[in-house]
């Protein structure tokens, strides 16, 4: 009589969920609670992810059907990203969005897993492995220091000038802003607001040298091309939350990195192109944020009547009140001081150009360029050239007239 066959052990059908940081995939999310729920809803399988970000669920007893899967990282937040996020101590290294997936199980195998909020996670199902890349809202950066008692009075808008990957790798360790707005409009916070982030470098605005201690930095992920609507919506929402939280912020001082980035001697232009000519400052102006303009026709006699005297003329580099050199040529009949007036106007708006002296030198030239970049951006004017034609002159007066 042949020996009795040994009973086969029951098959354990398990699935592994690999949890990662959506923006920095080398970050494994350990300690996350993963729960599979049926329609009642009762938890039918659960596990915590290990140090490799892997959670294992036993699907053996589960019938075919739809389930939901809740993934809760050790630190989660579902609110809008802003000053309320990660403002306590101690602050964790990461905070993620909570994730809920709709899961279809057939034959003890996950066939599909779809996030209920597509912005909260990306999911890829491959056999017995489900990779879930979860959106972070807080990634602690080492690039910060104390504000040394300074009050937050400014918000600086940047663009990354590169793709997401290099930006994230840099922001974690080397330098970066307080907030980053991704191309899909999602915001990640990197540095607590009461700290200074390292985003502005050498900079000057309205007579203040070194803008990092007095500002909040916002980086918009954009290399070239137009900014998506989702980014404007996210930016405006974030600005609302920041200006509400910090009454010390002067809305006039919501400006671009190009407006403030200087060489050590105070010459602007170091950050020309940031956030660049594609950025629509008018979107902010419509909400009374940032520098504004007054309405009304320009006065043709501005700047000592230069534009009356020289048709289609432009004040420019090399012009000098003392030498009566205006528009690149000598005009003895112009007896006023248009260059000094121009310099005083730009300085009063906030631009760095040294002490106004009536000599249209390199600093004045770069101040004009950055003014033009700000107000010509978004299709409102031609390519900046650093020359003050009547259009630019009238604009300078208009902006100055709007300053509180």
């Amino acid at each position: 009589m042949p020996p009795a066959k040994k009973a086969a052990p029951p098959v354990q059908l398990k699935v592994k969920l690999k949890l990662r940081n959506r923006l920095h995939k080398v970050d494994n999310i350990g300690g996350a609670l993963v729960q599979l729920l049926d329609s009642t809803p009762t938890v039918v399988a659960s596990d915590h992810s290990d140090g490799h970000g892997v959670a294992t669920l036993n699907l053996t007893p589960l019938a075919d059907g739809d389930y939901s899967c809740a993934i809760t990282a050790p630190n989660t937040d579902s609110n809008s990203v802003g000053p309320d996020l990660a403002n306590g101590a101690p602050v964790p290294d990461r905070i993620y969005r909570p994730v809920s997936l709709t899961v279809k199980i057939t034959g003890h195998t996950i066939k599909t897993a779809v996030p209920d909020d597509p912005l909260a996670a990306n999911v890829a199902v491959s056999g017995a492995l489900v990779v879930v890349d979860i959106q972070p809202v807080w990634m602690k950066s080492a690039a910060n220091s104390g504000r040394a008692g300074a009050t937050i009075s400014m918000i600086i808008v940047h663009h990354t000038g590169c793709g997401l990957g290099p930006a994230v790798a840099t922001f974690i360790a080397e330098k970066g802003p307080h907030y980053m707005i991704d191309t899909d409009g999602q915001i990640v916070k990197w540095v607590q607001d009461f700290q200074a982030s390292w985003h502005a470098g050498f900079s000057r605005w309205a007579g203040v040298n070194g803008i990092n201690p007095v500002s909040i930095g916002i980086e918009i992920v954009n290399d070239t091309g137009p900014y998506p609507e989702a980014q404007y919506a996210a930016l405006l929402g974030l600005l609302d939350r920041l200006t509400s939280a910090f009454s010390s912020i002067d809305s006039w001082n919501i400006i671009g990195h190009n407006d403030i980035g200087t060489k050590p001697d105070g010459t602007l232009g170091r950050k020309s192109g940031d956030p660049g000519m594609q950025f629509h400052w008018d979107r902010l102006e419509a909400r009374r944020l940032g520098m504004l303009m007054t309405a009304g026709p320009p006065n043709p006699s501005i700047y000592a009547g230069f534009f009356d005297a020289v048709a289609n003329g432009s004040l420019r580099l090399g012009d000098n009140d003392s030498h009566h050199r205006f528009g690149g040529a000598t005009h003895q009949t112009i007896t006023g001081t248009p260059i000094l007036e121009l310099q005083q106007d730009l300085a009063n708006i906030g631009y760095s150009l040294g002490t106004p002296d009536g000599d249209f030198g390199d600093k004045s030239h770069h101040a004009v360029l950055q003014f033009q970049e700000h107000f010509f951006a978004g299709g409102r004017g031609p390519t900046p050239n650093g020359r003050v034609d009547f259009q630019t002159a009238a604009l300078i007066k208009s902006v100055l007239g709007a300053k509180p």
Binding site: A143, S145, H158, G161, C162, G163, G165, P166, A167, A169, T170, E174, K175, G176, P177, W198, H199, A200, G201, F202, S203, G210, N212, E219, K263, P264, D265, G269, R270, K271, S272, R316, L317, G318, G328, A329, T330, D362, H365, H366, L369, G386
Partner: protein, 255 residues
Amino acid sequence: MRSLVIVVLSFTLSSGAMAHDRSGCSATDYAPESIKVLSEPSAKANSLQSIPRERTASLVRVDAFASRSGDWLKVRGDQYEGWVSARDVVCRVLPQEAQDTIAKQAAEVLQALKTANMPELRRSVHPVKGLRFSPYGTVDSKTDVVLTASQLSGALQDPTKRVWGADDGSGAPIRLTFVRYYHKFVYDRDFAQASQVRYNSEDEGRAWEQYPNAILVDYRLPETANLPQEHLRLVFEQHQGKWYLSGIIHDGWTI
């Protein structure tokens, strides 16, 4: 002996100094309405000719001369040949001519940088201006460190820490030894593998601000998954008939 030599020029040029939107000679914004052509590269030299500012496009560049009081260009007109101040006139070398002139020398310099061969590198250094090291794409003639050829010889072993500029994010001084600076702001990636090499391209906007009459050789490494695009620019300036290396611009990503 001071380890740092700063070549002081009586003036600097900026992008705005150039009414320059194409190759060839043109008047700067600083130029008077009548530009003097002199017999020597000196403000005290005899005037040979005066040319209207709008006629500078007809000039042909012949040579250049650098001095501590400023740069000079030797130009040829219809009926004269002489020197004009580089404050008044810019004469850019056309891209193809730039490549023909400098490609071999630039390749030798790049190889010297790749192998950190300072004796080889110093052979190319400008005898008057030295070699300016710019950690970022925006050249700063006031703060960027300039080393002479002789200072380069032992630079890799020099324990002296210099301030090479300011960090683009924190604004803190970049205080490093030469060797640390070299591996972070000169040859931090293998530019010999550059996907693109350009000669006197219009795209080197910020470099033209400081080096309007130079030949600029740009080595570009493209962006990768975790590394941003990066450029290394070699600056060659002419002096008494020869071209010398006068600047190394590390144009990496800045915040």
